[in-house]
């Protein structure tokens, strides 16, 4: 299922990005970043299992992740965290129409968790507005 493979790629990208983000943050923010990274790892593992069940071959990991901008300080680190969570929400949103029942509810949970984290990072970074009308919608 290509939508799940794309969600997996987004989760992998998030795990990678949080590794770069944490060092630029304050102590309590680093805790949040670590917790976020852990949640992305758990989603990643679930996706790997699910794709395995579906006998779908997960797309091989890209050799590196192109960051949209350089992370040099706390401000850019928080901006990257927002960007990453928005991207994960977008990847999960396209899973909704191709799933039903529990599987759709799980995809919505993943999308919602990312949207909430994006709002938290915006709050910490003083980025407004804190919310979007349609999380997961590109653009």
């Amino acid at each position: 299922m290509e939508q799940l493979a794309a969600a997996l790629a987004a989760e992998e990208a998030a795990i990678y990005a949080y590794g770069l983000i944490g060092v630029h943050l304050k102590d309590n923010e680093q805790d949040r970043a670590r917790a976020a990274e852990q949640e992305h790892r758990e989603r990643r593992d679930l996706l790997v299992d699910r794709l395995d069940e579906l006998k779908a071959s997960a797309a091989p990991n890209p050799p590196g992740y192109a960051l949209p901008f350089e992370v040099a300080d706390r401000t850019s680190a928080l901006r990257l965290a927002v960007h990453i969570e928005d991207g994960v929400a977008q990847a999960w949103r396209v899973v909704l129409p191709v799933t039903t029942d529990t599987e759709r509810a799980d995809a919505l949970s993943a999308m919602t968790d990312s949207a909430i984290r994006a709002t938290r990072w915006r709050k910490l970074g003083g980025i407004t507005p804190l919310t979007m009308a349609f999380p997961g919608r590109a653009g």
């Binding site: 509810a105 709002t119 804190l130 919310t131 979007m132 997961g136």
Partner: protein, 162 residues
């Protein structure tokens, strides 16, 4: 032939009376129907997403009242009200509903209360989120993404109000 004619005449008499009675009844029904609109059909069952649309408008209005009562909260609350209005607009398009054209401007002088507190609003968002999650779960595929985004947006509102 003669017999047939007499029967026909009698039948016609009956029929005419019945036609007149029926015509009266139809006229009455039409007049009665006119009170409720010209459509004689029973109204179609409301769309499954109508409650979500109503809730979006209710939430938007609650924020707008709170801003009138406490203008200092405008920067925080107005974007959230705008999100709900955007939800209502897209839901209305999706289900072919018409939004109320003019929303009465809330007035502080007319209300006895200070509007909902942010804690009340947060609680209302959490309930609204649950309703949207349930709606997303049962929505047909072509509606799942929009309803899912609305559920997620409501969740972020609760977070923004913390």
């Amino acid at each position: 032939m003669v017999l047939t004619d007499r029967v026909a005449i009698r039948e016609t008499g009956h029929t005419r009376r019945r036609v007149l009675a029926t015509a009266g009844a139809v006229a009455g029904a039409t007049t009665l129907g006119g009170c409720f609109g010209d459509d004689p059909e029973p109204p179609p069952a409301p769309d499954a997403l109508q409650p979500l649309l109503d809730e979006a408008l209710t939430m938007a209005a609650a924020y707008e009242r709170a801003v009138v009562a406490q203008p200092a909260l405008a920067d925080r609350l107005t974007p959230l009200a705008e999100d709900h209005r955007a939800h209502a607009t897209e839901l209305a398009t999706m289900i072919g509903a018409t939004l109320p054209s003019a929303v009465a401007a809330p007035s502080a002088s007319g209300s006895a209360t200070d509007g909902d507190s942010t804690a009340d609003l947060r609680k209302a968002e959490q309930t609204a989120q649950k309703n949207a999650v349930a709606a997303c779960r049962t929505a047909p595929a072509e509606r799942a993404a929009l309803v899912g985004s609305i559920a997620a947006s409501r969740a972020t509102h609760a977070e923004a109000l913390r």
